[in-house]
């Protein structure tokens, strides 16, 4: 069953990709959607079986991949709770988005390619979450990166899309480099890349040290931080977050699937998966908390000022990922995974909803040119409300349960970084509510700011786009309620079993259930309401206020609008110097030295030698005979000298 879940998307991708022209657009859509729905249904069954009913399933070894000396790596499907949670989340979201794409991409000329990429991506993502060793994890990791690159640059005739895809790829390279180094470090320390072997050995390795640059480092900490750098790249954490907003150049379903629901959460998944190692590296966990909390606040502040509807949601994603990381960092892995799952639903819902808006607005993404849409597309409007409520963490909606749990855990961790994370998280929660409603008000309320032509064409999306939205909305409303007991509540021990490891003294969730001050559970809700109120004030009651504020705090506003100048900074420091270096290498190194001495030079030398060699062939018999005699003399002389010497 697990095999079908993982490989159905691959087969569908192959069919749609290679035979797209043969089976046509409709055929490609049917194949990929059918395979994905099948995969999703089976994944949910698997989820119920393993996670809820508690049936252990052994790791499924498919075949040996690498067998070189000590290094043995299998293709395997690891089916513990953590895996099946991810499988269910990924495949359900993916199935919904596949179906949604049928409507959204209906006017695109290369539908089979798009559907094929989507399915291909899903396959890699499933490989990633079911891996049972580091190498397969890395395989899936790189695979989703590749698909992300392909899909961001799907409209390859747009220069901005190409630039964005390259940026995403290169920034991820930085993270992946860290990840690869982390894997090397793990192999060096444990001599194996199998999760089980490494996890069993981890407690013993806790005190090992590693000498680098003449300083003794804690080996496990180094390895974990390196691995976490990989997670930072993939999950768009500071300072490797810059690619995510730009990635919105891709089609909206891609943003929903890859850059909200699944791929970007791979980093969180990885930290959870490796919890048996991270638990023994408290310093690394502190780093995780710091990075996560800082990102959560940073992204929220930037989200406040953005005007592109998708970018707002992108920064929101970035911020929510920060929540997940600091949850993992305070050892509340269950909470992190819980938020990961609920976030997948409501963020996909928001993205697809915004996609529906963009679809209705004939491709317009700037919120300043929207407004007054709520009467025209009421269903989308309602769904966006659900998504926003879930995101802001309003009770009964999914986000409430997971986000509150995270904040409570951070408080309950009783550590400096935990406090840091808590207060930043609270502030970010306020901003989250603010920008969410800013988005809603700007888009759906007020006077229509679009031109008459566009407004005339505004229409509700077709059923094929709305049905997936209903599915996701259902998840966004009920996933929190339904999952609370299992993920972070009383049932969490039976639910996670061996797949997560939390040392007793680190168990923040346990602490969060007992004896918190009364204001801690209340505060997130209060700030959320406050955020909504401020947004109402600014964008409904007194529409002039935001401009006034922006005018008064011009410096701050510019700072936020320009995303804390990260892009400019990177451009100065890395991009330009890399360009200069690359240009130098290209002209000087590659052109002059390598080409000159290498391919070109060798080729020229060979041709010259060829000309000389054929000139030897004079055609005169006595020249030929002379060559023979000279050959004889050379050989005889050689042997004489050898025997003499």
């Amino acid at each position: 069953m697990a095999v079908i879940v993982v490989f159905a998307p691959l087969i569908a991708a192959a069919i749609a990709g290679f035979f797209g022209r043969l089976i046509g657009d409709r055929g490609a859509q049917l194949v990929t959607c059918g395979a994905m729905i099948l995969s999703a249904v089976l994944a949910v069954i698997l989820f119920v079986d393993v996670a809820i009913l508690g049936n252990d399933r052994p790791t499924l070894s498919l075949f040996t991949w690498i067998d070189a000396g000590d290094l043995v790596v299998d293709w395997a499907l690891r089916l513990d709770t953590l895996s099946v949670v991810m499988m269910a989340t990924v495949s359900v979201c993916s199935a919904a988005i596949h179906v949604y794409s049928v409507g959204y991409m209906s006017h695109d000329p290369s539908i089979p390619r798009f559907q094929s990429y989507l399915s291909f991506f899903t396959f890699f993502m499933l490989m990633l979450v079911t891996s049972d060793n580091f190498v397969q994890l890395f395989f899936g990791w790189e695979g989703v990166g590749l698909c992300s690159y392909l899909l961001i640059g799907f409209w390859y005739d747009r220069p901005s899309a190409n630039a964005a895809s390259i940026k995403a790829f290169i920034v991820n390279r930085v993270g992946d480099f860290g990840f690869a180094l982390g894997i090397f470090a793990v192999y060096m320390m444990f001599g194996s890349l199998q999760f089980d072997a490494v996890f069993n050995e981890a407690p013993n390795a806790a005190k090992e040290t590693l000498e680098f640059l003449g300083i003794e480092w804690d080996a496990l900490t180094i390895a974990c931080i390196l691995l976490f750098i990989g997670a930072m790249g993939k999950s768009a954490q500071l300072p490797l977050h810059t690619w995510l907003p730009d990635a919105m150049e891709g089609p909206t379903p891609v943003s929903a699937l890859i850059h909200a629901a699944t791929m970007v959460t791979a980093g969180v998944f990885m930290v959870c998966r490796l919890s048996p190692i991270f638990e023994y590296a408290p310093d690394a966990l502190a780093v995780v908390v710091l990075v996560g909390a800082t990102t959560a606040l940073f992204a929220a502040t930037v989200g406040v000022t953005q005007t592109d509807i998708k970018r707002v949601i992108a920064y929101s994603t970035c911020s929510q990922l920060g929540y997940m990381f600091f949850a993992a960092g305070v050892s509340a892995y269950g909470a992190a995974m819980f938020h990961l799952m609920t976030h997948a639903f409501f963020k996909a819902l928001l993205f697809l909803g915004s996609g529906s808006v963009i679809h209705a607005m004939s491709g317009e993404q700037d919120m300043r040119k929207m407004g007054g849409l709520w009467r025209l597309i009421p269903i989308t409007y309602g769904l966006m409300w659900i998504g926003s409520l879930a995101l802001a963490g309003i009770p009964i909606f999914a986000g409430y349960y997971s986000k509150d749990m995270i904040l409570e855990s951070a408080w309950a961790a009783h550590s400096g970084v935990g406090q840091y994370a808590f207060w930043l998280g609270i502030f970010a929660a306020f901003l989250t509510a603010f920008y969410s409603w800013r988005l809603l008000f700007l888009t759906f309320h007020g006077e229509p700011r679009a031109d008459h032509e566009t407004m005339h064409h505004v229409h509700e999306s077709p059923k094929v786009m709305l049905i997936p939205l209903y599915v996701l909305a259902f998840g966004a409303v009920f996933a929190g309620m339904a999952g609370y007991h299992y993920f972070v509540g009383e049932g969490r021990a039976e639910f996670w079993r061996q797949s997560l490891l939390v040392l007793p003294e680190n168990d923040a969730i346990e602490h969060a259930h007992h004896g918190l001050p009364f204001f801690v559970p209340l505060l997130p809700f209060v700030v959320a309401i406050a955020g909504i109120a401020v947004a109402y004030l600014c964008y409904m009651a007194r529409p002039g206020l935001p401009a006034e504020i922006a005018g008064r705090f011009r410096g701050l506003y510019q700072f936020l609008l320009n995303k804390w100048y990260f892009d400019e900074l990177y451009d100065r420091i890395f991009v330009r110097s890399a360009f200069r270096l690359g240009y130098g290498f290209w002209k000087g190194g590659d052109g002059a030295i390598i080409d000159g001495l290498g391919p070109d030079g060798l080729a020229a030398a060979t041709v010259g030698a060829a000309r000389r060699a054929s000139r030897l062939q004079t055609g005169y018999i006595y020249h030929y005979a002379f060559a023979i005699v000279v050959g004889v003399v050379v050989f005889v002389t050689w042997y004489l000298l050898r025997s003499a010497g």
């Binding site: 054929s614 023979i628 004889v632």
Partner: protein, 483 residues
């Protein structure tokens, strides 16, 4: 007066049969006159086929015959079959071409038969004298064949050049033989091996003798620097003769090379390896570099064969059982690739005239797709692209070199095969990517198509059942190493 019983002749039955058949064919031709060429050719091919059967039937344990001058063993059987195959292909391919070139005469197949007989004697030689006689029988027939198209200057020039230089090389070799005899006091390989054994290194006298023998043999296999005749003779000789030159004598000479170096002098691999190493490297380098500038396909094939011999000699330089095995495999593969390529060259006729320039192949894929495909197969195989047969040939040879710790030799081999791939694949590029030239004359003839099909299939699908060749080559190589 002592009585001498007739020695058992059965080990030499194939040779005796071929000699008798060639004389019978000669009589047949003389009585039938000029019109007999076609029948004589088919009969000669038939005789060669019968000889193959006799050779295979005579296979078995090692057997010395004719007072120790003649030997049959698995090695001889393997090489003789290759030689005979080369002869059969050459005769079959010559029929139509000779008629078109107006040189269809019955002496042609007779000379091929006699040359083949000589080669088989070389393969079976167990004595310096029979070695030399076999070599001369072969060479003399080939000199005549090279000049067979006597009305064209180039053919006559080819025959003369080959003759003069061949005589020089024969002289060198004979001199070497006499030196070896002088120092060792024997001419048969078994006694030589016994007399020479026991030293750390070979004395300088016999060693220089071996050098001279090597020079003569290297001339026959056209290894650098004794290769100079090859391009001129290949280009000048009638194309079927060139096709014959490029396979059968090469196989026979390599066989002789292996036997001479391994049987009597096998104990001193470290001594003579240096010469082989040097000519192997020189051949590989020249074969790959000098071919780049050629515009004539036959000349190109001359350099190509020089290069191939260089690769085969790698296996000899290894001097091990594995090395010999790799040479045998290489030669077996080489025969099919080369015959196939020459079949294509033979078909290159436009308006009744031979065309031999490489540029004449431009756009062949459009005018003759099947022909282009088969030539592409041969070219890729010669370049050593897997999974075609040529790749395996090189693979085994390089592996033997690595196991004999001849790393430099293997590296040079790999580098030169990269350079060589340039001109092979350039031909494929010409055929598939350039604007087509006018089509070649049709029809090609059933026998040519058959030769092409057989060689192409063997080259393409060698990898399916390589064990046929590899196993018998292993057995053949083992028979050279007693004990």
């Amino acid at each position: 007066m002592p009585s001498f019983p007739l020695p058992p002749l059965s080990p030499a039955l194939p040779e005796i049969f071929l000699a008798a058949a060639s004389m019978a064919l000669l009589l047949f031709g003389v009585f039938r006159g000029e019109r007999a060429a076609r029948e004589a050719s088919w009969l000669a091919a038939l005789a060669l086929v019968v000889a193959v059967v006799l050779v295979l039937g005579g296979g078995g344990p090692r057997q010395l015959a004719l007072y120790g001058m003649f030997v049959t063993d698995a090695f001889a059987v393997f090489m003789k079959v290759l030689v005979l195959l080369g002869g059969i292909f050459a005769i079959v391919m010559s029929i139509r071409w000779n008629e078109q070139a107006r040189i269809a005469r019955f002496e042609f197949p007779v000379l091929v038969l006699l040359a083949t007989t000589g080669m088989m004697m070389m393969v079976s030689a167990a004595d310096l004298i029979s070695l030399y006689i076999g070599l001369e029988l072969q060479s003399l027939s080939l000199y005549v064949l090279a000049g067979f198209k006597r009305d064209t200057v180039r053919s006559a020039e080819a025959g003369l050049k080959y003759f003069v230089l061949g005589a020089l090389a024969s002289g060198m070799m004979l001199y070497g033989c006499s030196m070896v005899y002088g120092f060792a006091g024997a001419t048969d390989f078994a006694t030589l091996a016994a007399t020479l054994s026991g030293g750390e290194t070979l004395a300088i006298g016999p060693l220089v003798g071996i050098v001279f023998v090597v020079v003569g043999l290297a001339f026959k296999v056209s290894a650098v620097p004794f290769h100079m005749w090859t391009p001129d003779v290949y280009e000048g000789a009638p194309t079927p003769v060139t096709a014959f030159f490029s396979v059968a004598p090469k196989v026979a000479a390599i066989a002789l090379f292996l036997r001479v170096m391994i049987e009597p002098f096998g104990g001193y691999v470290a001594d003579w390896r240096q010469v082989i190493w040097l000519i192997s490297v020189a051949s590989m380098v020249l074969g790959s570099v000098a071919a780049i500038n050629q515009s004539n396909f036959k000349r190109l094939m001359a350099y190509s064969s020089i290069g191939h011999i260089g690769y085969a000699l790698i296996g000899l330089a290894a001097g091990s059982k594995e090395g010999v095995e790799s040479v045998l495999i290489y030669m077996a593969i080489y025969v099919f690739m080369n015959v196939g390529t020459f079949a294509v060259i033979l078909l290159m006729r436009r308006n009744g005239e031979d065309v031999e320039a490489i540029d004449d192949l431009q756009g062949l894929a459009q005018t003759h797709p099947a022909l282009a495909l088969s030539l592409a197969i041969f070219m890729f195989a010669m370049a050593g692209i897997p999974p075609l047969s040529g790749f395996f040939g090189k693979l085994y040879v390089f592996m033997a070199a690595i196991n004999a710790e001849l790393y430099v030799l293997a590296v040079i081999g790999v580098v030169t095969s990269v350079v060589g791939a340039y001109y092979y694949i350039r031909i494929v590029k010409l055929m598939y990517f350039d604007a087509p030239k006018p089509a070649f004359d049709r029809p090609f003839g059933a026998e040519m198509s058959a030769v092409l099909a057989v060689t192409a299939v063997v080259t393409l699908f060698f990898f399916i059942a390589p064990s046929v060749v590899v196993d018998s080559a292993a057995a053949a190589a083992a028979s050279l190493f007693p004990g």
